[in-house]
Amino acid sequence: MNLLRQIFVVSAMNFRSLPQRFWTSMVIVVGLGATVGVLLSMLSMTAGIRQVYTLAGSPGRAIIASLGADNEGQSSLSRDNVQTIMNAPGIARDTDGRPLIDQSVNISIPMLRANGTKGFITLRGFGPKGAKVRYEMQMVAGRIFEPGKRELIVGVGGQKLYQHLAIGEKVILPDGEWPIVGSFRSGDILEGQLIGDSDTLMAATRHPNYNTVILRLASYDSLGELRKSLTTNPALSVHVERHSDWYTKVIDNSTSLFATLAYAIGGIMAIGALFGCLNTMYAAVSARSREIATLRALGFNGFPVAVSVILEAVVLAAAGALIGAAIAWALYDGKQDAFGANVFTLRVTPAMVGLGIVWAVVLALLGGLFPSIRAARIPIVDALRAT
């Protein structure tokens, strides 16, 4: 009988006897389920933050911020700076011939969360072409604000997470109450924000400067031309970056700590689960010792026996990982949360489920290895005699 066939026969027999060892086997399933569940639940947050930023960072756009600023709020650009940027090459133009640039303002204002706690929401100012630069934005109710008027629109994500943001309600700003006149969807970071007219907002909040300029590039390759023109201009001290690259940096800044924690905690749980796996597989081998000895006496090789042990561990671990992933998905996928003044949706993606299964399989290989060696080396005569 060839080796593959032997492996198949022994493993099939092994799996048929699993129900008799149901509860012992469940130790692996529960251990890996808990490990993968915790890992993916924690990663769902970094995945969510990643998603809202990645979607917002179109490679067809560029962002211009003052040198050294690593978030939009820290950047500051004067009206003169913006005028200079407007005349730079490489910027796409609207049908009216004017450049598609959005001189934006970014402030965070206190807002009560839906659960009653005090939080902050990002209030963004759009330049006259803002909505065209952010072409993925779509109004879902009401209308967009009128330039020059004290009006705001709100993203549907923000509406869900904060109180008093329905159309018709008012947001308190320094010079009075601004009504919300519409709501929009964009699928990205904007969806959790309030948006109004930049110049009107600057007057109201006594912001002398814009924060950043976001613009549509004439073509994907125009970035170099634009950057050269702006960074060599002695009147400017700015940083020009593709919008998608800017957000990649923001993502790393805001998620690396949390991702490290998630992997550290997942790692500790994995060690615990590994001991559980070893325990279970040793028990499984000892429960099957007579059966294994019989197989060996019949002429089966030690190798297929060892493989069957590892295979059992892998299948149980993968099942546990799937259950853990399913629980993490059911609990967290699609849930909305806020990180600072940014709203995002927690995500458990297929790639993450894959990661969970890989973790489980690697652990099972480690946890099955020593028991499988023991199985292959069972002294046949003693095992047959044992009661």
């Binding site: 915790v38 003052s66 820290q74 402030i107 206190p110 706690t117 490290t260 001991f275």
Partner: protein, 384 residues
């Protein structure tokens, strides 16, 4: 006591199983210790909050408010004292190495007596305009000792001459403050203020306010915000108690910690229950023998309980011990200043760990123990 050898013999029947179970339990309790210990840190911070303090910040802009506002707040009824700070945010050598220096006016010292700075250190800050007292975490992070100089580049904080580089003298190193998990650098308000262009001078980013009646701090916060609502500088005030409560932040980390600890306990419960059930099943006839010899139901059940509890409790003790060790060396392992709150192994953590271990042992031994109580001795003895 006399049953200890019997219990130990039961456990050591399968040494591999006993040790592996204990190791799993240990790891789960290491995680338990770290997460619940982190919550203990949050609790400690919240409990140590001074009920009579509150913080006032500009509501809409981060470019500060005139320091004259301190005088106006001080005149409000129920306010005893006001201090303020500004800050410089920049980087050291590489833009990735972000540094934040708080610059305090002299009155902060009177309002924050619980900060670990000694009178001598406060004096040094007051006497050296470009000096900073730094916390141990920051000293470790930047490898600084008293007498060193430290330069940061802060593009958004230009001096009157246009320069954006700021050099500090390290005056001394002080203990860390639990709620400043990334450590701190504290300097003199005048250093930034007097070096800035005239138009930016005399502005503070945060005011520290002390209320005369600790039960009315929230009202004072409200009063301040109402008072400035229609002024050129609207404010946003929060009591120290509310500011230090983690459940008030968008993400309730304390709840996340509890969930993680629970997941670990669930894993351990399953594992222990399984081990003890298997052990009892294998030795069913032996327990029948014990009963035949006159051991009472209660005694036999207690034996099973202790057989489950010993590895559990040992694992819990080792695990929490390991967690204590890890939290002691954590600042050396991770790049310090990362902002992860360090777990504190308070008595509460040990009590919770002990209770959880006992509960796991009780729950996992309950079914096997009941089976032993209801067993038919004759059948069990005959091995059927």
């Amino acid at each position: 006591m006399k049953y200890i050898p019997l219990i130990m013999a039961g456990i050591w029947r399968k040494p591999a199983r006993a040790i592996l179970t204990m190791l799993s339990v240990m790891i789960a309790f290491t995680l338990f210790g770290l997460t619940i210990g982190m919550n203990a840190t949050f609790d400690k911070v919240e409990q140590n909050a001074h009920n009579d303090r509150l913080y006032t910040n500009p509501r809409f802009s981060n470019n500060g408010m005139p320091v004259a506002i301190a005088g106006q707040i001080e005149k409000l009824p129920g306010v005893t004292r006001v201090a303020y700070e500004s800050f410089i945010a920049g980087y050291h050598q590489d833009p990735k190495n972000r540094v934040f220096v708080a610059l305090l006016n002299p009155d902060v010292r009177k309002l924050m007596p619980d900060w670990p700075l000694t009178p001598a250190q406060w004096d040094k800050i007051a006497q050296n305009r470009d000096g900073v007292v730094i916390s141990k975490i920051q000293a470790l992070q930047w490898k600084l000792k008293p007498g060193d100089t430290f330069t940061i580049v802060a593009p958004l904080f230009a001096k009157a001459d246009g320069s954006t580089s700021w050099t500090f003298q390290v005056l001394d190193v002080a203990d860390d403050i639990a709620y400043m998990s990334a450590g701190y650098m504290m300097g003199n308000f005048d250093y930034l203020d007097k070096a800035r262009p005239a138009a930016s001078q005399g502005r503070a980013n945060q005011f520290f306010v002390q209320a005369s009646d600790p039960t009315r701090t929230a009202d004072i916060a409200q009063l301040i915000d109402t008072n400035f609502a229609n002024s050129a500088n609207p404010t946003q005030s929060i009591t120290e108690k509310a500011a230090f409560d983690v459940s008030n932040s968008g993400l309730d980390i304390a709840a996340v910690d509890r969930d993680i600890a629970l997941a670990g306990m669930f894993m351990v419960l399953f594992l222990t229950a399984n081990g003890i059930a298997r052990s009892v099943r294998e030795r069913f006839a032996e327990f029948a023998m014990l009963k035949t010899l006159g051991y009472s139901d209660m005694t036999v059940m207690a034996l099973v309980f202790w057989e489950a509890a010993l590895p559990c409790v040992t694992g819990a003790i080792l695990g929490v011990g390991l967690a204590s060790g890890i939290s002691a060396i954590l600042p050396h392992l991770f790049p310090p200043g990362g902002g992860v709150p360090l777990p504190t192994m308070t008595g509460i953590v040990f009590v919770w760990a002990g209770l959880s271990a006992a509960l796991v042992a009780l729950a996992s031994s309950a079914l096997p123990a009941l089976r032993l109580r209801q067993m038919d001795i004759a059948t069990a003895l005959s091995g059927r």
